[in-house]
Amino acid sequence: MVDRSMRGAAAIVGVADAVSPTGELDGTVRALEVQVIREALDDAGLTIADVDGLFTCTTPGWAASLELAEYLGIAPRWTDSTQTGGSSFEIHVQHAAAAISLGLCDVAVVVYAATPRSSFKKGAGGYTSRQSLPGPTPSAEWEQPYAMRMPMGAYALAASRHMHQFGTTAEQLAQIAVDTRTWATMNPRARLQDPITIDDVLASPVQASPLHKLDCCLVTDGAGAVVLTSTERARTLRKPPALVLGTGTCHTHAMISEMPDLTTTGAAVSGPLAFAQAGLTPADIDVAQIYDSFTITVLLLLEDLGFCAKGEGGAYVADGVLAPGGALPANTSGGGLAYTHPGMFGIFLLVEAVRQLRGECGPRQVAGAEVALAHGSGGVLSAMSTTILGTEATA
């Protein structure tokens, strides 16, 4: 079956390249990327301020589109670091056209630069380094000399700022860990299943002030996968479908020192985008899976997603709203704090959200869960993506 709704819905409106008969170009890869982006935008009569979709697949660091967006000073709502070698950019155009046709972004930039020839002559790795990205990462130059413990130090900075600005307390953060652990007591597959108290959290060793060990996620092994198909086809398959009702994405930085406001994440953009697409509000969410890398992560995300006002997260969580029986059952698997956390927890948020919508969660099942939210956070509060799922009844 071919869906023709994408046909002609998006167009390439600006192009640029940089080459030389000598086979070599001056300047760094980043400088070349910026140059061709600027020229392609000029070609289209657009500026960098118009760009809300970014596609790139090469980086000296760990996350191509995050680091380039940080360098360019943009906060895209569509991001793509798909790397398939030489065909990456045709795939980027396909993804961009799909996103644009659905209104998920408006102006997308696809970019590539590499300098293997001049890098080889300079003795910097040579042709075997296919991407040939000389130069240090910004983190090595501007953050690592200060020896912040990572990643907890970055989140600790955010916690310190939220406490200073809004009076949030260590006890309020600890309540998030306590409630998450209560859910884990009902999950026989959780790594940590013993209940804890606020005092337990506060008595655990400080990892990076003001965060304690029990404010921090686990380090475990783990794996997860999800499968998607059309809703039409889903209805013919074995299990009840979890419909994708709304999605939203925004990333704001790669390094914590480049985060514009340490008390507000890109979830303040991704959440409203997802809710608008779903035609729902936070009040409609029956069960929430909110990335709990650290307790402060959950607190910031609850505010940014609109479950409470900015600055009021501490008071919101203080009475156990996230716990079994609370108004917003959250991280029902036991979360990254107690279930599992192999480094990137986002897949497990989706798995648990689907299991809740199917009613497969046994003692920790949230009765009558029809709408679930899974919110992933990547990097150091850097990259945010919100997924709202619903049962067939929400179609």
Partner: protein
């Protein structure tokens, strides 16, 4: 302006993790050899930029220059490390890592230190005014750190 405040690491401390030098930041690091803090500016939109880039993150312009910074700042966020984040600070924990807002309009990650000895989270607060100090690096550069003003 007062004399630059140089605060060497303790005698028995290992070297800090050396910051590499990116091409765009060469003037920044060169200036640290004489304990001078300079910040990159975009001449097109008159905006300070940090970390230094090859193009302005506001306008993608390349008409950039480095200008002396006031050398003052305000603590925006801070965290005390109970143990070292990397081998460069071995034996120096606990110590304070902070984000410092400069009056030029940019923010830097840095250390809060004192000429009088170790600094903990109880010794400094968010909102405190600070000024730049310099920790010598083995290659003749200095690492910008901050003391309470």
């Amino acid at each position: 302006m007062s004399e630059p405040l140089v605060i060497p690491a303790p005698d028995d401390a290992p070297d800090r993790q050396q910051p590499p030098i990116s091409p765009a930041a060469e003037p920044f690091w060169d200036a640290t050899r004489s304990c001078s803090l300079v910040i990159q500016w975009c001449r097109s939109c008159e905006r300070a930029i940090h970390f230094p880039r090859e193009a302005c993150p506001s306008c993608l312009g390349t008409d950039l220059e480095f200008r002396p910074a006031a050398g003052t700042g305000t603590v925006y966020a801070l965290s005390e490390m109970p143990s070292p984040g990397n081998a460069g600070m071995k034996g120096r924990a606990p110590y304070v890592v902070a984000l410092v807002d400069l009056p030029e309009g940019v923010r830097m990650l840095s250390s809060i230190v004192s000429a009088d000895g170790p600094v903990g989270a109880a010794d400094v607060a968010i909102g405190d005014p600070v000024r730049v100090a310099w920790e010598p690096l083995p290659d003749g550069r200095h690492l910008p750190v901050f003391v309470r003003a």
